[in-house]
């Protein structure tokens, strides 16, 4: 296939550095999250339709517990402020501060997940018990998966921050991305909590 796309006779070319584009990863993440939020939108809509079609919600015998999830909610929502402190720290070139606040966020995220698992283990119903529990486990489970991914991102930032100079006031896109993702997970939880718990109990 000489002469077509497929041949090569010349030595390697460097791409001119001046023409590489700016870092667009934050844009990419925001676009992705806009899309991702519609997946939850699909679950929320499905939930509302199923609830609207039910004679009784939650079905008889299904107790929705409120204390633990409320505490969990407080932990997750405050962690959104904590992670922001880490971002503020790195903007002042304070890597130690970044690490401190991100470790704290990771701890709070873990508490949330452990609380969630504890709730699963102690509830009187399982995934297949009834249509409410179907929705409950699917939606919280899916959200929990996202918390887990957010946790991995935070741990990734912490791992990289061990290397001096990896993050600085001029260069911290990774830090920012983890923070944005964490806020996203938080916002989804607030909607979820309102739909599944508050509006079910009251």
């Amino acid at each position: 296939m000489q002469g077509s796309t497929l041949d090569s006779t010349q030595p390697p070319h460097p791409v001119p550095a001046a023409e590489s584009h700016a870092d667009l990863r934050v844009w990419g993440l925001l676009t992705f999250l806009a899309s991702e939020s519609l997946m939850f939108g699909g679950f929320f809509a499905a939930y509302l339709v199923l609830r609207g079609g039910a004679a009784e919600w939650p079905p008889a015998g299904t107790e929705v517990e409120l204390l633990l999830p409320t505490l969990n909610t407080l932990v997750l929502v405050s962690s959104s402020f904590v992670i922001h402190l880490g971002d503020t720290a790195i903007k002042q070139n304070n890597v130690a501060g970044l690490r401190k606040w991100y470790i704290l966020t990771a701890l709070m995220g873990s508490i949330f997940l452990i609380g969630q698992i504890y709730e699963y283990l102690t509830l009187g119903y399982g995934l297949t018990s009834n249509i409410f529990s179907n929705c409950f486990y699917l939606m919280t489970g899916f959200h929990g998966l996202h918390v887990f991914v957010g946790l991995l991102l935070i741990l990734g930032v912490l791992w990289r921050s061990r290397q001096t100079g990896h993050y600085s006031d001029a260069q911290h896109v990774g830090v920012e991305m983890a923070e944005i993702y964490w806020h996203f997970v938080d916002i989804i939880w607030i909607v979820l909590f309102t739909l599944l718990y508050i509006l079910t109990v009251f």
Binding site: P14, A18, G28, L38
Partner: protein, 571 residues
Amino acid sequence: METQIISNTTSPTSTATEHPAAWKWYDYFRFNVDHKVIGIQYLVTSFVFYLIGGLMAMALRTELYTPDPDVLNPNLYNAFMTNHGTIMIFLWIVPAAIGGFGNYLIPLMIGARDMAFPKLNAIAFWLNPPAGALLLASFLFGGSQSGWTAYPPLSLITANTAQTLWILSIVLVGTSSILGSVNFVVTILKMKVPSMQWSQLPLFCWAILATSVLALLSTPVLAAGLVLLLFDINFGTSFFKPDAGGNVVLYQHLFWFYSHPAVYLMILPIFGIMSEVIPPHARKPIFGYKAIAYSSLAICIVGLFVWVHHMFTSGTPPWMRVFFTVSTLIVAVPTGVKIFGWVATLWGGKIRFTSAMLFALGLLSMFVIGGLGGVTLGTAPFDLHVHDTYYVVGHFHYVLFGGSVFGIYAGIYHWFPKMTGRMMNERLGQLHFVLTFIGTHLTFLPMHKLGLQGMPRRVAMYDPQFVNLNHLCTVGAFVLGISVLPFFINAVWSWIAGAKAPDNPWNALTLEWTTSSPPPVENWEVLPVVTHGPYDYGMGYGVSHDSNPDANDSSDDSSAPPASNPILALD
């Protein structure tokens, strides 16, 4: 050939990267981040799936030659029917039109060296082959039986393992499509060469932007629906089981909230291709640039609010029927705007009947038939009578075959020289066009009548009164099958031994024609500077210094200074 480098950026990604001067053949079979390689990978892979899906279609039509199920076992018929539709939509048209042309062309059209996220781009492509493998593997478990729409309860009670593989496959291509769309949106919005105004952005780029936004907004909702279906099949939930508090129509809403926009995913990029192919081959500026650009965005928005026209017979309440009838008729308006724009572009043009142009003209005529059929279907009182009959099959094949597939062919004939550095054979192209044009009408026109007479779709057998028209359809399907041969021979032979292509064989004015054919790995040695609009034909631009025997009718541009390249001012 060193270029002068002015270092003016402190971005963290601005380290110079080493790459070879050109890719070797085996680079096309590997993980590669160059958008041009990825574009060709998408095109070739999806074409392979097109052939597989096409063979399934011919098996279906063979079965339907006679009223009785005498050739295929009815379950196998269902599996072929399901996977034919799934493959054609998710593994041929979507990846070819968006992944293939989008990836290859977007950076070249906006003067960028690559997409915004090259690695993500490659990952998105490589999700496709395993998705196809899952579909094919599902045949080991009987093949999914419930059609490309996978409605419960059918999808819950037939071939569970195959249906599960089907779901996983669609989730993979859906993920691929979301990742690809993220890349397109960011690339188009942020990476235009600075000298290009928004009003100089080629219409194909507007189309891909609208397509990507639509994919981003609708695909995740399908994913949500399919996850629920997966749980119902495998983990004992009852989201779609009415006897346990679930709701079957809910699935249809989730499905069509994606899948109506999906028909625009399959046609908007094609509209973009039309806007690129028609002006250079008619030697006229596009008529109504702004109207065509904005109508893509209008389709993108209105198209999100018409999905219930697929569900008029699903116990839909009257207010919904009225609302969605009206919105469906409204969405046909921006589509019509485009059609008029192209017709007005052709009007009085110096039309060159190249293979690309033949397919574009064929598309125009067929899409009008398909679109008008769509408008009739969008009207609830009519749809109640023909829903789930062959009338619907006729409609969507006119838009999908006569529209999307014709557009992909037009695009291939138009950009093949750029992609491979070789010209395609025009004679074989004409033969290909004639066979495809006749075959499409022969196969799908009679289906409208069959549908009006009440022949139901998706069944291996039918009432003997329908036999004559079905003979026509089956003969047409074989003409279509044969029509692929001249194309295939042409593409393979031309790629290996076709005449060398000049940089700008069609004297076109968009930026991809300002670089060599095929382009170097970094697209341009020095980025081009845009000095005129993408469709300023007949205004003295665009006389290329390549002499080209196939396109020596640039007389309309004779006012341009010869032997220079006024397309761009290289610095």
